[in-house]
């Protein structure tokens, strides 16, 4: 059998991913994370009477803390399968990717293991986040002053 012919056969036999249903599930589960953060924010501004900017910062800190703890407790390992990528896209996912890498490599030493692999998955987010922020700022300054 020729390579092209085989690759065609592989394509036929490999089940298609259910992208639409996965995307819808992720939409809902990601939205739930958003709802949770809004709740935290509301509680902080009303019950604890924090200002808007400090309430935002505290919300992010709480979200990071909670998701790191849940990573360590093995919550994501079980729930990402069910909730799809909705759980790992927002701030919760960023904290989760850092914590899971850290857990994997902590036995390889603080520098060579944990330190070197801490941003294994999140590194790209930081790098390209900074680059796109920079480019957008340039566009803003050039066109809108």
């Amino acid at each position: 059998m020729k390579q092209e012919e085989y690759q065609e056969l592989v394509k036929q036999l490999t089940p298609k991913e259910k992208r639409l249903s996965h995307a819808l599930i992720a939409f809902v589960s990601g939205g739930m994370v958003g709802v949770f953060s809004t709740l935290v924010y509301e509680i902080l501004t009303t019950t604890f009477a924090l200002g808007k900017s400090s309430a935002t910062i505290w919300t992010v800190i709480i979200l990071i803390g909670v998701s790191s703890l849940l990573t360590a407790l093995g919550f994501f390992d079980r729930w990402v399968k069910k909730c799809q990528c909705g759980l790992i896209i927002p701030t919760s996912g960023f904290a989760h990717s850092v914590t899971s890498s850290a857990l994997d490599y902590k036995k390889d030493g603080l520098i060579t293991g944990l330190g070197a692999n801490f941003f294994k998955l999140a590194g790209s987010v930081i790098l390209y986040g900074i680059i796109s922020a920079f480019l957008l700022t340039v566009i803003k300054v050039v066109f809108y002053g």
Partner: protein, 323 residues
């Protein structure tokens, strides 16, 4: 020609250890099952070494062998630089040959061992292992990350197997073997290893039958290593195309887990074939001529990240159960 016929090589005994996922699967009859992926150790790497050592120790004890009576250890698995197998070998005063054919390592060890017996050695221990979480860490994502998986991915089985090859007559004869060629059919998808390896399995089957001048119907059953359900289907289609007709064929990767365990395309890893062989096929005593085709995907994360196609290999070993 890379086919061998043996007349004095026998399989005397095997010791199988499996992890918690495999215990809950379709098979039973293991020598030892472990509940904890750490197996009482600090790291998963140490746990895998402990599994191998336990398998070899138990096998030697059961057959009243000491270090001096075993001529050589041959083994390997999936860890970087096969360190797991080397650390295991450091616990014994027995010469060691480390091997790597990814998930086809078990058959490579059997072939190497059988050829050593042919050269007048008496006792060879062939061993292999795999650990799901070590493989996840090495080839995929961090363990706790839990990234969603494609339907075509396979699940690395956890376990260790040690087998004793000898020149004393037993009821399982290693009858012949064929060393496979490395095949590359241009598949780049690391999440579809069945598709990567199926052509290598068919190639070694074709060469084996050709070189030993026998039809595929000579065997009561042909078992591939860890193609999973997609690779199994591809193997059948490729055999049809090559006009190879067999009595019975199935893939070991599809025999280990239950559907509800959500392991996608099935089990993979060098242990999946020997687990099925020793805890099911040989225990059932249904077949007398068995052809084992262990399959291996020869990739590394760099090879895949640089968008190269993945080479694969398969080795064939023929066993004869003497009644």
């Amino acid at each position: 020609m890379a086919s061998f016929i043996y007349d004095n090589v026998y399989l005397k005994d095997a010791y199988t250890i499996v992890g918690p996922y495999e215990t809950k699967g379709k098979l039973s009859n293991f020598d030892l099952t472990i509940e904890d992926m750490y197996y009482g150790e600090k790291t998963f790497e140490k746990a895998e070494v402990k599994m191998q050592v336990k398998a070899i120790d138990s096998l030697m004890a059961r057959n009243y062998l000491n270090d001096n009576q075993v001529d050589c250890l041959v083994g390997g698995e999936l860890s970087n630089q096969i360190t797991t197998s080397s650390v295991t070998a450091s616990k014994y005063k027995i010469p060691f040959l480390g091997l790597y054919s990814a998930c086809a390592t078990f058959n490579e060890a059997l072939i190497t061992g059988a050829n050593l017996i042919k050269l007048n050695n008496h006792h060879i221990i062939a061993y292999t292992s795999s650990h799901n979480l070590n493989s996840e860490k090495q080839f995929r994502y961090p363990v706790e990350y839990g990234a969603p998986k494609k339907e075509s991915t396979t699940f690395t089985a956890t376990g260790a197997i040690a087998t004793l090859l000898t020149d004393e007559k037993t009821n399982i004869k290693v009858e012949s073997a064929t060393i496979g060629k490395v095949i590359d059919y241009g598949i780049k998808d690391v999440n579809n290893m069945g598709a990567v390896m199926a052509p290598a399995a068919v190639q070694v089957l074709f060469d084996h039958l050709n070189e030993l001048h026998r039809p595929a119907t000579y065997y009561d059953v042909i078992i591939t290593g860890d193609l999973g359900n997609i690779g199994e289907e591809l193997f059948r289609k490729l055999c049809q195309k090559q006009n190879i007709k067999y009595n019975k064929y199935f893939d070991a990767g599809t025999e280990i887990y239950r559907l509800e365990q959500d392991t996608k395309a099935g089990a993979s890893g060098p242990t999946s074939l020997p687990i099925v062989l020793f805890s099911k096929i040989l225990k059932e005593k249904k077949y007398s001529k068995i052809l084992l085709i262990a399959t291996g995907s020869l990739h590394s994360p760099s090879l895949v990240n640089q968008k190269n196609s993945i080479p694969s290999i398969a080795h064939a070993v023929s066993l004869e159960v003497i009644k």
